[in-house]
C-alpha cells in the first residue's frame, strides 16, 4: 500500500493542481520567452505568438472546434460567461431580448442574467427535474420569437449531472437560437464536441483541468452560423476585437498543454475515476444507512459523488474529517447562510441539503486515498449520528416531517 499524504484533496470541482507536464511547458514563457504576443516585429513577439497559436489549436482540438480562430482567450470562466451572455445580448438586442437558462447554473451565469434583466432583457430560468437535468421539452417550449440565446451548462459543479446538450443543440439550431454552454466542469471529463452538439459558444477554464488559474477561453463559432459578440473590454483589439488585453502567454501555454493531455488521456482518466468513485460510493452505501445520492447516477461526471448523510450536518462532518478536503451544501459553509441552491432546485429537502457532502475525485486520487476516506467517513458519520437527536428519533420510528419544529 502506498503511504498517504495529508491533507487529502477530494475537492477537484473547486480547482485542480497544475500537472507537472503543464508547468514544465509554462516555465520558459516567464523568463527567456517573455515576449508580448502582440509584438509583431521582433523575435520575442514571434515566439510568444507561436506558442499562443499552438495553445489555441490544442484548445480547439479538445472541444471539436473547426478552427483555432474560434478560441478567444480570457482570464477564466467567469469572464467567458460574462462575455458570452453580455456580448450576445448586446449584439443581438435588435433581434430579441429573451434569454433562457436553468436555475442550477453557476453564479457567473445567473448573476450575469440578473444584470441583463436590470437592463431590460427577459430571462427564463428553467427548473431541473428530479435527476438534476433540465427537460429538453421545457427548453423547446420556452423558446419564443424574442429568444436570442439559450445557456445551459455541460455539467453541474455541485452534483456533477451532465445535461442533454446534444438534444438541446438540435432544437436551438432548428429554431435559429444561439446555444451557449458553461462547459467548465465537463470539458475533457465527459463527451463534449461543439460540432456534434451544435454549441455556438462555450466557456472553459484551465484550472479545472490541471492547468493554471487565471486563464480560460470562450469558444465563439465562426461558421454556420457566424456568431457575433460585442466586446466587453475596450483596448488594443486583441483576440480579433473580442477581448482586449495583453495575452497571458505562460498561462495560455499551460492551458494548451492541459487541453492536449485531456485530449489524449481524458477518456482513460474518466474510466479510472469512475471505478474509484464507485468504490467510494459502494463502501459508504453498504456500511451506512440513510445515505442519499443527489442527482442522476447515470448522467454524471465520473469524479463526482454528492451524497447526503441524513441526520448529520455537513459542516460538522467536514470538521470531523478535517484531514480530507471536501465541500458541502450546508448553509453553515456558505457566506449566505442558505443551503445550496442547486440541491434546493433538485427538490432535496433543506434538511438533506444541510447534510450534503461533495466528494470530487481527480487525476491524482489514489485507491489508498479512497479507502482511507471511506473508512474515515463511515466512522465519523456513526460518531456524529450517535450525538444526533434526529437519528435517535428516526430510530425510534418518529416521522421527523411530522414533528412541529420551532423554525428560527
Amino acid at each position: 500500500m502506498t503511504s498517504l499524504k495529508f491533507p487529502i484533496f477530494m475537492d477537484y470541482h473547486s480547482t485542480t493542481p497544475v500537472d507537472r507536464r503543464v508547468l514544465d511547458e509554462m516555465i520558459p514563457y516567464f523568463t527567456e520567452k517573455f515576449g508580448n504576443a502582440a509584438s509583431r516585429n521582433h523575435a520575442f513577439g514571434w515566439s510568444a505568438e507561436e506558442a499562443v497559436d499552438q495553445a489555441r489549436e490544442r484548445v480547439a482540438k479538445l472541444i471539436g472546434a473547426q478552427s483555432e480562430k474560434e478560441i478567444v482567450f480570457t482570464s477564466g470562466a467567469s469572464e467567458s460567461n460574462n462575455l458570452a451572455l453580455k456580448g450576445v445580448a448586446e449584439f443581438y438586442k435588435e433581434k430579441g431580448n429573451h434569454i433562457i437558462t436553468t436555475v442550477i447554473e453557476h453564479k457567473a451565469v445567473l448573476d450575469t442574467c440578473k444584470r441583463l434583466e436590470s437592463e431590460g432583457f427577459e430571462v427564463t430560468y428553467l427548473p431541473i427535474e428530479a435527476d438534476g437535468r433540465v427537460s429538453v421539452e421545457k427548453v423547446a417550449n420556452a423558446i419564443t420569437d424574442k429568444t436570442i440565446l439559450v445557456s445551459v451548462m455541460l455539467a453541474n459543479n455541485e452534483i456533477g449531472t451532465v445535461q442533454p446538450l446534444a438534444e438541446i443543440g438540435k432544437i436551438t439550431r432548428e429554431r435559429g437560437v444561439l446555444l451557449h454552454t458553461d462547459a467548465v466542469q465537463g470539458v475533457g471529463k465527459t463527451a463534449f464536441d461543439v460540432q456534434a452538439m451544435n454549441v455556438d459558444l462555450a466557456s472553459i477554464t484551465a484550472h479545472k483541468m490541471y492547468g493554471p488559474k487565471g486563464v480560460g477561453a470562450l469558444y465563439v463559432r465562426r461558421q454556420k452560423p457566424r456568431v457575433r459578440i460585442a466586446a466587453q473590454m475596450d483596448g488594443g483589439g486583441h483576440e480579433r476585437g473580442m477581448r482586449s488585453g495583453t495575452l497571458n502567454v505562460p498561462g495560455i501555454v499551460g492551458f494548451g498543454k492541459a487541453c492536449e493531455i485531456m485530449t489524449n488521456e481524458g477518456v482513460e482518466e474518466a474510466k479510472k475515476l469512475l471505478a474509484l468513485r464507485e468504490r467510494l460510493r459502494t463502501r459508504l452505501m453498504s456500511e451506512l444507512d440513510e445515505v442519499h445520492v443527489n442527482g442522476s447516477m447515470e448522467h454524471r461526471l465520473a469524479g463526482n459523488l454528492n451524497v447526503s448523510f441524513a441526520f448529520v450536518e455537513g459542516e460538522a462532518m467536514m470538521m470531523a474529517i478535517k484531514d480530507v478536503a471536501v465541500s458541502s451544501g450546508s448553509a453553515c459553509t456558505s457566506a449566505s447562510l442558505e443551503p445550496s441552491y442547486v440541491l434546493r432546485a433538485l427538490g432535496v429537502g433543506d434538511e438533506l441539503a444541510h447534510s450534503s457532502i461533495r466528494f470530487g475525485l481527480g487525476r491524482f486520487t489514489t485507491e489508498a486515498e479512497v479507502d482511507y476516506v471511506a473508512e474515515l467517513v463511515i466512522r465519523k458519520v456513526r460518531h456524529l449520528r450517535d450525538m444526533s437527536p434526529l437519528y435517535e428519533m428516526h430510530k425510534e420510528g418518529i416521522d421527523l416531517t411530522k414533528v412541529e419544529w420551532a423554525h428560527h
Binding site: F311, V312, E313, E315, A316, M319, A320, S330, A331, C332, T333, L337, P339, G349, D350, E351, H354, D386, M387, S388, P389, L390, Y391, E392, L400, W405, A406, H407, H408
Partner: protein, 134 residues
C-alpha cells in the same frame, strides 16, 4: 471558518452526549431548532432533591459550533440550581468558545435549549405539586 481551539476540543471530545429518560418527573427536556434550518439541539437536565441539577445530557444535529455550545452548556449546568442555570446567557457561551459573529445563533439556540429544559421540568413538577417558588 477557522474554529477556536475550544470549539475543536468540544466537537472532538464532546462532554455529556446522551439521553435521559424523558418520562422521569425529575428530568426536563428541551428540544429546539429545526432540521430545515440545519440545527436541532436536545438538552436534558436531571434535577436532584435540593433543586440542584445533578446530570445534564445533550444530543445535537448541527455544525461544530452548535455541538460545542451544547456540550459546554451541559458542563455548566451540572451542579447549578435552576435559578443559576436560568441565568446563563448566550453571550457567556460566545465568550467562552470564542464564537465568530456568524455562529452566534448557535449560542442562542443553546440558551433556548436550557430555558426550554427548565420550563419542561417545572411544568412536570407543577403537575405534581405547587411550584416551590410560588
Amino acid at each position: 471558518m477557522a474554529y477556536s481551539d475550544k470549539v475543536i476540543q468540544h466537537t472532538e471530545n464532546p462532554k455529556n452526549v446522551g439521553t435521559l429518560d424523558k418520562e422521569d418527573p425529575n428530568v426536563g427536556t428541551g428540544l429546539v431548532g429545526a432540521p430545515a434550518c440545519g440545527d436541532v439541539m436536545r438538552l436534558q437536565i436531571k434535577v436532584g432533591d435540593g433543586g440542584v441539577i445533578e446530570d445534564a445530557k445533550f444530543k445535537t444535529f448541527g455544525c461544530g459550533s452548535a455541538i460545542a455550545s451544547s456540550s459546554l452548556a451541559t458542563e455548566w449546568l451540572r451542579g447549578k440550581t435552576l435559578d443559576q442555570a436560568e441565568a446563563i446567557k448566550n453571550s457567556d457561551i460566545v465568550e467562552e468558545l470564542d464564537l465568530p459573529p456568524v455562529k452566534i445563533h448557535c449560542s442562542v439556540l443553546a440558551e433556548d435549549a436550557i430555558k426550554s429544559a427548565i420550563a419542561d421540568y417545572r411544568q412536570k413538577q407543577g403537575k405534581k405539586q405547587a411550584d416551590n417558588k410560588a
